[in-house]
Symmetry: C2
Subunit: 210 residues, 2 copies
């Protein structure tokens, strides 16, 4: 389906399109012109057409987009139906917040297990997901190949745990530790969640309002 190397900026916009189309779908919208879709996303119709053209032909001249169909196509582009799996590393506050509140399944991921060292957590379940001792990480990953590790450990052990994940063959690391991981990650995708980038953008915007 893909025609060309897709820029990082386009990849970053796809989840937003997906989220927006989901909202439209839930609101009962069945089809939408490209200009209406653009307006509701704060973009021009041609920007959206250009983004989507990286992946093929979508929509129909004079008809616009079928919301549910386009949503399904973007879901497929994003790999949401590939049966991705995840484990959480570090079931502290942030790890548990994700396990309890974040819907991994809505992004196409099955959350299989969490790992920690805290005796108060190991052997328990959080939101139905078992918490194991991190000593058993490699054995678990050998028996249950997982796509990504969700890294919510203290930053002091972040690189060590990340290296173990990479060595055990995960495809990606979703990094919440706010540090740049220094692992030999050839072929492993590291996706950083930078809370500070978001807060600084907010800082800029409220400063402009003053």
């Amino acid at each position: 389906m893909r025609k060309q190397k897709v820029s990082s900026a386009v990849i970053r916009r796809l989840p937003r399109y997906y989220r927006h189309l989901t909202d439209l779908h839930l609101a009962g919208v069945e089809r939408l012109s490209s200009s209406a879709l653009g307006m509701s996303l704060g973009m021009t119709a041609s920007q959206i057409r250009q983004d989507l053209s990286c992946f093929g032909e979508f929509g129909q001249q004079g008809y616009g987009y079928n919301v549910d169909k386009l949503r399904g196509e973007i879901s497929e582009i994003l790999g949401m139906g590939k049966g991705h799996t995840a484990v959480v590393l570090g079931a502290g506050n942030l790890g548990r917040a994700l396990m309890e509140n974040f819907h991994f399944d809505r992004s196409g991921f099955e959350l299989c297990a969490a790992f920690d060292v805290d005796p108060a957590l190991v052997g328990r379940q959080v939101s139905g997901v078992p918490v194991y001792h991190v000593d058993g990480l490699e054995k678990f990953l050998e028996e249950h190949p997982v796509s990504i590790g969700v890294l919510t450990v203290p930053r002091g052990v972040a690189n060590h745990i990340a290296s173990r994940l990479v060595a055990a063959g995960v495809k990606g690391i979703w990094n919440f530790t706010n540090i740049e991981l220094m692992v030999d990650s050839a072929g492993v995708i590291i996706e950083d969640v930078h809370f500070a980038d978001s807060l600084l953008a907010l800082s800029y915007m409220i400063s402009e309002e003053q």
Copy 2:
């Protein structure tokens, strides 16, 4: 200092420049050519020059950028020295994770207080920050004007609490609830942290690697 309306894409890149310049500064780098800065950010020198040109003249032909000076200038553009303040709404797992691990001060924010309804939390301190009952929110905000509310409440009460923050005069809401807030937010900036967008981008990238 500002010359023109700055696009959202540029605003989103500024924190990344700041973060990168901080890393360079900590690594002892004193100055850098624009092409070296570009390369380390995966951009071209001219893209960076164009972004920065929205805010004035930076760097010097043939000399490049003074890392610490440019970092300071971007910090100023981002409003990091404006004495912004924050309160956390919802001291559950995610709220506490942010209070305990996220360095608000490094983004120029002072974290003043948190609000919750849980009797086990109200009256206690988390990382030196007092947790008050949410009933006292309006009185607190009247006595201590704060810049932003950090919204980490359950999604069922997110809009209600957001409306109270807006009515009490905050300038921005840092929204972690994964819902689109439906508040009358004229003049109030809402910054959403969409974990799912990040995970879906990762899903795309690991799917491509397969």
